[in-house]
Structure formats: structure tokens, C-alpha cells
Amino acid sequence: MGSFAWVILLLPVAGCGASFVTETPRRAAHVCMTFLGMSLIVALIVLGYRLAHETTSITPDISTLNYLSLTPGPSETATFPSTFQVAVGVRVDNLSASFMVLISFLFLVVQGLGTAMLQHDAGYRRFFWASSLLATLMLGLVLSPGLFQVWLTLGAISATTLVLALHYWHRRETTAPARRAFSVLLGADASLLLGLAYIIDKMGPYLGLRSQPAGGALDIFDFRLLNPAWQAAAKGTVANGSYKSLVILTVLLVVAALVHAAQAPFTGWLTGLREAPLPVLGAITMSMLAGVIVLARIYTLLLVTPGVLSFLAVIGAVGAVWLSAACFVSRDIYRVALLSASAQLALAITAMGAGGYSAGLLITVVSAPLSLLLLVTAGSLARAYRTRDIGEMGGAWRRMRHTSLSLGLWALAAAGLDLVGYDVVSSIFLNRFPNMREEVGSTTRYIVVQGGQMAGWVRDLVAVLAIAAVVLTALYAVRLLVTICRGTPAVRRGFIVEKLTEAAPPLRTLQRWCAAATVGAVVVGLPGIAAIGHGKGRVPALTFSHWIYYGASHQTLPVEWWAFAAAAAALVVGVAGGAAVSRAELTRRVARLGLRLRIPTLAATGPAGVRWAFAFGARAGNALAGEVVAFDHELVEPLYDSAGEGIEVAAWSLERVRVRRLGIGLGVTLAVILLLVGASVLAAGGHFPVHTT
């Protein structure tokens, strides 16, 4: 099955390559979509196979190829693994089997969005090959058997993001943000590279001594080697590895993940790109899943550094509140869509930080199609209303019934029916309640995931923040729905209300696909949450949390009525509040309040401290660069000038004293040198009697 999964990886890139040789851009689009569709089908087959063999699906199927292989010198094995080898390949486990279906599907929808919205666009062909490439890289990331491939694909994802973001390369408002986004992502990749170097530094010899895992080439960054190495380092059995070094390593990797997931305070690179066309935004938004996937892959490392895990929960919760607040006060529907996608991932990260590994991934699976649904709907609305300002929209229910239904589905799901709120809250309170533990012999075993190791007050803080984020999410979702669907659109020059019509059929189809995917994702997760009772009463059937887990045993999310109550209350408060603030006057007031509180600015550029640090860094760098250039001009160049001038003066002096005799002398000297050289060559060949005795 591992070898079979290569096909999933290679099909989109084959489409990407084939798109260059097609006659027309339209044909190129069809080729890319066909290949991506085939990839989706194969991914579904792989997923089906694993589902059908669920009892034996704990072990991943791995197929790897040696990519780079070195053998360090004899005296270097104290520093490096005895074989410094990295591999690329595919690791088919339950996580990757599920996510490759999700990613193929999402990118297929994104390309569908491209066919619907980018017709007659100069960058039509470029969008399709670039999005196919991005899909390949995302699949490569999901299927990564080790951290090296994670770094490889993340770096390439950054570059492809730049290519996509430069879709309108002739517009200044898109080129500068694209450059900034690439620079930020490059920084994240550098952090990951440092992480790899740090692993070698701290665990190199230990990793080299481990026995080679079965299946494919040895990779010193293979997760099968790294996971036990991290645990060994935490226990202090690795020579150089200590808890402190693990914390540093985790921070380096987590920073890379958070930046790629556009989490606060690194959200600016994403929101800056909002002038790009919607399909491009869709592709880039879906590439944000990379951050969560990285976190999932290094979860065993996070577990041995509970401090960082707790910090991750706090960062996620604060980010979720912050980004939801920014959504609440934003009037640009594209901006809301981007921030909303980021906020949903923040909730997923909160859940993972709180120990809810399965819950975090479930939130990711649910929120990805949900975010895409909002983007597709936002694109339909912006095209119909010819504005992105939600304050100027209205009356969609009467004139755009299908789109309104899609928006309604999104709003209700985001408001709480997708159970994201419940997942987060239950993850936070996981091991707080006695009914979530069971006694196995003399030891207590948590029947839920055990990552949550937050101190009491931290857990309470995170819970409060998460609930606040859920409430805010419900607020802005309902506010958006009511503002757009009821009333009448604002009167604007050049906009005729009567001409407001439903979105084009392709867009409606895409809305349906996204809606179906969202519902499907929620349904997949539902039985896991509603495992009927515990102990003997637990439903052993297939559930998401039963399917995707870390470690060697299944975990099942239990029903926690506290969490249900909190999530339901948040839903009610959010819906009521959202409906209340959706009046036009209130919308404007909220927006003004948000502006006064600088929330949109905060969401785009970070808090004052971060902004100040960036501004200071830029100014200091600029000033330093000026000094560097000045130093070059004022000191280095004159030094060289003086050296050059010295030689010139010497040459000039020589010319002054040049006489006919000197010229003849130089000529004779040259001739003698040539003769000597010739004689030497002849002597070397045995043709000249010059011998030493």
C-alpha cells in the first residue's frame, strides 16, 4: 500500500507538468483537474483499504527512497549519526490516509473555483499548474515519513505560495504582500532547518545507533526513530539530550508550524494577501493546514515537553479570541473568510495543546471544508454585489437563495453545530473528571488522550479564552449571515439592485460540494464524541478519534456534559448576540469600535510590541545597511584604490624610465624564460641531457 501511495503524490505533479504542453489554458485546467481527481480516487482507495483493514492498521505502510547519504568521518561519530542518510517517501497511516483524501478534495474544489472565477484571466494556466504543485507538496507533507521531508515540502510550499500570491504581479497591492509573505514563510523554514541541525547536534549519535526501521531506506529524521529518541531524551538516556534541549527543539519546530498555519502573531502574511483572486486565496488558505499537520507529526515531541504543549494551548486560545474578534469587527468579507480560517485552526491548535490530539485533528478536518465553503460563498457574494464590504450587502435571501443557504449552513456550523466548540472545551477539561480515567491493574490510565498537562489556573484560563472564542465565532457568523441575507443592499453608484442574481451554476455546485464535505466531516466525528457511555458501554465502532490517534492504543473522546453545556451556551449566546448586532447601525458601530480598539490592525500586524519590534528591526537594519555601504565607500574602496594607484604609479614610473635598451632587455628575458621552459619540457621527456647524479 505504501508503494501504491506514490501514485497519489505523483499524479498532481504529472498534471502540473502536462499543463505546460497543452494548447490552451482551458485545456491545461482540465488536465490539472483530471490528474488531481485521479489522485483523489486513488487516495479514496487507499483510505478504503485501511478502513477495511482497520484492525491491522496501527502499523503504517512506509515506502522510502534514499535521497542523500553521507558517511561521516571516523572521528565524527561522536557528533553525527554513523550514517548520515535522509530519505523521501510516503508514510501511509491513518492520519495521512485521511488527510490526503481531504487535501486532494479541497484542492480539486479550489481548482474548480479557478475555472469558475478566473476565466479569461492572464494567469489562468499559471494558477492551475501552481495549485497542482501546491497540492502535490501538501500531499508530500502529509505523507512525510520524517522531518526532513517535512522541511523539504514546507520550503517548497513557501515558494509555491509566492508564485500563487503573485497572480496579479502587475499590481503593487499584491506584490509587496506576496514578498512579505514569502519572507515570513522563509523565516519559518529557517527555524525548521535549525531544528533539524539541533536534532543532529543533540541526538545525532543516538539516532545513528538505532536499528534501521523496516521498509525502505534509513532516514535519520524518520519519525520511527525520532519518536523513541525524544522519549529517551526526556528520560535523560540520550547523552547530549536534556529537557532544556527538547524544549528549544520543540519551540523551533512549533514556530515553523504556527507561521505556516498563520497563527497569531504571524497572521499578517495571510491577511496581506487578500487582494489576490479568490481561488488563489483558497489554495493558500488550504496550505495553512500544513501547520497543523506538522504539529500532529511532532506530537510525541510535544508530549515530552508539556510546558510547550501548554504554551501552545494558550497561544492557540489567545489567537482564537484575537482572530475571532478581528472577524467580528471586519467589514471585508474576504478578510473575514481568511481570518475565520485562521481562527478555526487556532481552536484546533488549542485542542491539541490541551491534549486533544484527535479532537484537534477533527476540528481541522471539519474546519477546512467549512472555511472553503465561506470562501466560495464570499466569492459568489462579492461578484454579485460587486463589493466586498458586508455593510453594502443585504437582501441576499430574496435574490440569492442558494448562496444564502450555503452561507446559512456555514454560519450555523461555525456557530457551534460543527461541534468544534465542544471538541475544544472537552479537550481542555479532558482529564479533570474522574469518569475519564480507568484503572488498569495498579495503574491509572486515561481513556482519553493524555497530552493535557496544564496547571489548574492555566487550564481555566485556556477554557475561558476558548469559550470566548467560540462565542465570538458564533457572533460574527450569525452577524454575517443576518447582515447579508436580510434587508436590502446599500444604494451605490453603478450598482443596480434588480440585476442582483444568484451565483453562476459552477459556483453553486462548489458550494454544494463544500457543504456536503462539511456535513460529512461533522458526521464522521459525531460518533466519536457521542460514544455511548464509557467502559462496557463504549461504542467500538469506527469513529474519528478511534481512527486517528497517536501512540499504540485507541483513544475515545467521552461525552462530557460540562463541555456540552458550555458549548451549547456559547452557541445560544453567540446566535442571540449575532442576531442582535446584525442591524446595520450596530454593524457600523461595532466596526467603528473595532477600529478604535485597533483590532483589525492587530490581527494584521500583531500587537504593539511585535509591531514595534518589526519597525525597530527594519529601521535598525536599514540604518546598519546604510553604514555598511558607507563603510565600503569610505574605507574599503579607498584602500583598494590606493593599492591600485600604487601599481599604476609604479607602471607610470616604469614607463617614464623606459628606454630602448630596457625593452630589448625585457624581450631577451622573456625569450630566455621561454627557452628554459622548453628545455625543461624536453628534459622531462628524455630528449635533453639534464640529469642529476
Binding site: F84, L194, E637, Y640, A643, G644, A684, T692
Partner: protein, 516 residues
């Protein structure tokens, strides 16, 4: 023929007839043979000029052919441990100045380090020869000097005798000086003199080192094939620093970067590509292969110096790249940043880091070559090299812009392009020894990458400008030579493993000569 008959040690017997190994000789001298042919050609009419240009391209192509031959014969052997280390299939050794008190021989060989730079040199010269087809000025001079410079550059890389090495080293100065005097714009004379002065100083330092080693090592020989070199007293340290100083001058690292940067800035088109892509690589080769290879223990003890110098060079180069307004000078600064990475690898002093240096030099030559050639094409089309005067060129030249962006990404070390393997090995190989230096250098490389992307934005993107309305995109010839370089950038990025063992053997030979 007598010369050939003396070769007994390395033979290939695939056809039953014994042939001497002359690949390196052919690779080195073929260019100068074509240069002599070009020198004898008349250059009055257009047809005659075209003939000279074809001789130039053919000569560079022939050298490329032998270079590929040399590299590819070593790749299969690398797995067995014999490829990429001296004394293998490629060695050529004939007694030459044996009657003198200190003997010298015609000793050519190539290890992994040399082969990595040989690829760059031969490819860049071939592409430069193709690019020179559009030149109409001093055609014969350009052709002869280019081919001579190629011979000198390749000669430096394969010389295993001090006399030969110095001969080629000084030979390289002549065509560079002549070319810059003839083609330099602005301050051609000044920059040519400066560079010649710098190079002569480095040659003098190398000569001192050679004499010191030859007299003190006890072997009474100028042969460079026996490493590590052992000298009594402080001889090792002195010789090491002499070679290092000469190399650093040639590499143009901060604060010795002035002469080469000016040379690159003042040269035109093809020349700036060669100067920027090839000359510093020769310095880096000398530093790693000669200074570190001869004195591995001494170089290890000064690793902190190299780490500090790497930090200064990378940060300095990155900052200067951000502020500079000249396209070619910007690329020169980026090249300096690459040299800072080489210094970090030397500071790391591990076989992983040294292997990374080889990958990096390979990538650097290709990337800087592409960028310089593109910069010259931009100048040719717009008559401008000031970044602030350019903009929106992607409207008129989409291929040119796309290639620039790709080269920029490669320079930034984006995975699956040529630059990443070098970055990966240098950082992982140097981090255990110099954590803070590695971290700062990594941040410094981000500055350079940011400067390149920013330049791409300012030069190519944005609204179209009427001034450049008639600027045209790459033609078939330009697409060919840029395509060759870009194709290699992608190829090496996707399958770096092809060279890994070859380079690793070379690194092992440099750091652990006795063991390798």
C-alpha cells in the same frame, strides 16, 4: 608520444588497447588550443568574426565535454570509495623539472571538491561563450581571453603541483585584466588594476607558502598530492595563514570584497557572469582543498576565526545587498553571502559541512551565473542597471522574469532547487561546533534572500513602463544558455544524491587524508 608512453599507472582497457588517461589534460588545454586557433584567424569580416565565435563556443564546449567525462567517470566509482579522491582513474603524473633541487612534476588530479567546481566552471564558460555570440566588440580578444581564462581556471582546479598551480593562478590574472581594460565601463582601468594588484598579492602569498612547504616539508618536491603536510615549528601555522590569506583575497570575503565587487560591477555582460561565478569559487577551492586539506589540524584550531568571519561576511553582505541600487553589485553581495556560508562550513570542520561546501559552490556558480547573465540582458534591453530606474519588466520579458525568480528562489535555498543541499549540509554540519554563528548566518542569508526577492519585485513586477515598451524577451539563443543553467539548477535540486558520494569522498580526503 613519448609523453603518453610514460603513463603506466592508470589505464583503461576496455578495447584491449592501452590508452593513457588524458582526460584532465584534454579538459584543461583544449580551450587554449582553440584560443590559439582563434588567435590565428583573420577578423575583418562578419563571417570571419562569426567563425571566431564558433571556435570560442566549440572550445568551451569541448572543455565541458571533457569535464562531464571526468565527473561522470568518477560518480560510479564513488560508491566504491575510489571516486572523488586523488590517485584514482584521473591521475596524470609525469616528471617535469626533476633536475632541480626541488622537483616538480606535471601532476594533474581531481578530488570531489575540484570536480564540484569543475562542473561550474565548464558550464558557466560554455554558457558565457554562447552568450558572447551577440558581442560585436573586440571579438577575437574576448574569445582568446575567455578560453585562456577557462584553461587557467580548470588548471587551478586540477593542479597537484605547486609550480603548475601557481602558473595557472597567475595565468588567470592576465585575461581578467585585459578583458576588464577592454570591456569595463566606467572605471575599467581602475578596477582592472585593483583586481590585478589583489590577485598578484594572493599569488605572492601562495608562492611564499609553496616555497615554505617545499623547503621545510623535507620531500624536496613541489608535489601537492601528499597530505596532510607536516612542517616543523610554526611552519604549519605560517603556511596555513599564507594560503588562507590568499584564498580569502580571492574569495572576496568581508573586508576583502572591494576589488572583486568593483570588477563585477564595472564589467559587461558575459564577463561579470564569469568573474562573479568562477573567480571566488577558485578562492574557495584553494581555501578548502589547499589550506584545510594540507593542514586539517591547524585549520581546525582556528575554526572560531572562520566562524566570526562567516558571521561578519554574511551579515555584511546581506545588509549591503538590501541597500545597493546596482543590479550587478547586488548579485555580487549575494555571492559574498555565499562565500560566508563557505566560511561557516570551514569553521564547522566536519565532513558533512565540507560536503555542503561542495554542493554550495556548485549551486552558487550556477545561480550567480544565471543572475549575472540576466542582469546583463536587462542592461542590454533597458540601458539601465540601477534598480530604482527599472520596473514592470515582466510585461515585456516574462521568461526573463520567470528565470530570475527561479534563480532567486534557488539562491534563497528553497528545497528542490540547487541551493538547498548545500545549506542543509553546511548548517547541520556546522551547528554542533558553532551554534550561535550558524544561527546568525542563517538569519543573514534571509537578509540576502529578502533583498533578492525585493529586487525581483522592483525590477520585474508592477505596472508597465512606457520607457521599456520595446524591451524584448529572451530569444532562442538566450533561452538556450539560460535554460542550460536553470535546467541544471533544477536537476541538481531534485537529485542531489547523484553527487553526494563523490563529494563526500572528497570531503573525507580533505579532512581525514590518511584514512580516506
Amino acid at each position: 608520444m613519448n609523453f603518453l608512453a610514460q603513463t603506466t599507472s592508470t589505464t583503461t582497457t576496455t578495447t584491449g588497447v592501452t590508452f593513457p588517461t588524458l582526460v584532465l589534460t584534454a579538459m584543461v588545454w583544449i580551450a587554449v588550443v582553440f584560443a590559439l586557433a582563434a588567435l590565428l584567424m583573420p577578423n575583418q569580416t562578419q563571417d570571419q568574426l562569426r567563425r571566431i565565435k564558433s571556435i570560442g563556443s566549440t572550445g568551451a564546449g569541448a572543455a565541458l565535454f571533457f569535464a562531464i567525462w571526468a565527473v561522470e567517470t568518477q560518480v560510479p566509482n564513488a560508491a566504491g570509495g575510489t571516486g572523488g579522491i586523488p590517485g584514482g582513474d584521473l591521475v596524470e603524473q609525469h616528471s617535469w623539472l626533476s633536475s632541480f633541487p626541488i622537483a616538480s612534476s606535471y601532476h594533474l588530479d581531481a578530488d570531489g571538491m575540484a570536480l564540484s567546481v569543475i562542473v561550474v566552471v565548464s558550464v558557466v564558460f560554455f554558457c558565457a561563450a554562447l552568450a558572447a555570440w551577440r558581442n560585436q566588440r573586440h571579438v577575437k580578444l574576448l574569445t582568446v581571453c575567455l578560453l585562456t581564462l577557462e584553461t587557467a581556471s580548470l588548471g587551478i582546479l586540477v593542479s597537484y603541483d605547486w609550480v603548475l598551480f601557481l602558473l595557472f593562478w597567475t595565468l588567470a590574472i592576465v585575461p581578467v585584466y585585459v578583458l576588464d581594460r577592454a570591456f569595463g565601463h566606467g572605471h575599467g582601468t581602475r578596477t582592472a588594476t585593483r583586481y590585478a594588484a589583489t590577485s598578484l598579492v594572493s599569488a605572492g602569498l601562495l608562492l611564499l607558502a609553496a616555497v615554505l612547504i617545499a623547503f621545510q616539508a623535507g620531500a624536496q618536491s613541489f608535489d601537492m598530492g601528499v597530505t596532510p603536510v607536516s612542517l616543523p615549528g610554526d611552519g604549519e601555522t605560517v603556511a596555513f595563514w599564507l594560503i588562507t590569506a590568499a584564498s580569502l583575497l580571492a574569495m572576496a570575503v568581508v573586508p576583502l570584497h572591494g576589488a572583486l565587487l568593483d570588477l563585477e560591477e564595472d564589467s559587461t555582460g558575459v564577463l561579470s557572469a564569469i568573474f562573479a561565478a568562477v573567480l571566488p569559487s577558485l578562492g574557495a577551492y584553494t581555501l578548502v582543498h589547499v589550506a584545510v586539506g594540507f593542514f586539517p589540524t591547524t585549520s581546525g584550531s582556528f575554526s572560531l576565526f572562520f566562524a566570526v568571519l562567516a558571521v561578519v561576511t554574511v551579515v555584511w553582505g546581506g545588509l549591503a545587498a538590501m541597500r545597493t541600487d546596482d543590479l550587478r553589485r547586488l548579485i555580487g553581495h549575494v555571492g559574498t553571502v555565499f562565500m560566508g556560508l563557505v566560511l561557516l562550513g570551514v569553521a564547522g570542520h566536519t565532513s558533512i559541512a565540507i560536503t555542503g561546501i561542495m554542493f554550495l559552490l556548485l549551486a552558487r556558480g550556477l545561480v550567480i551565473g544565471v543572475l549575472m547573465l540576466l542582469a546583463s540582458l536587462i542592461q542590454e534591453r533597458t540601458r539601465r542597471v540601477r534598480i530604482s530606474q527599472l520596473g514592470g519588466l515582466a510585461w515585456q520579458a516574462p521568461f526573463l522574469s520567470a528565470f530570475w525568480l527561479l534563480a532567486t528562489l534557488a539562491a534563497a535555498g528553497v528545497p528542490l532547487l540547487a541551493g538547498f543541499a548545500g545549506d542543509f549540509f553546511i548548517f547541520t554540519g556546522s551547528f554542533p561546533a558553532h551554534r550561535w554563528a550558524s544561527t546568525v548566518v542563517l538569519a543573514g542569508t534571509l537578509l540576502a534572500s529578502g533583498a533578492l526577492v525585493w529586487t525581483a519585485q522592483r525590477v520585474f513586477l508592477g505596472a508597465s513602463r512606457d520607457t521599456f515598451e520595446r524591451a524584448r524577451d529572451l530569444g532562442p539563443l538566450e533561452l538556450t544558455y539560460i535554460g542550460i543553467l536553470v535546467g541544471l539548477i533544477v536537476l541538481i535540486g531534485v537529485v542531489p544524491g547523484h553527487f553526494a558520494e563523490l563529494f563526500q569522498n572528497g570531503a573525507g580526503y580533505i579532512l581525514f587524508p590518511g584514512v580516506a
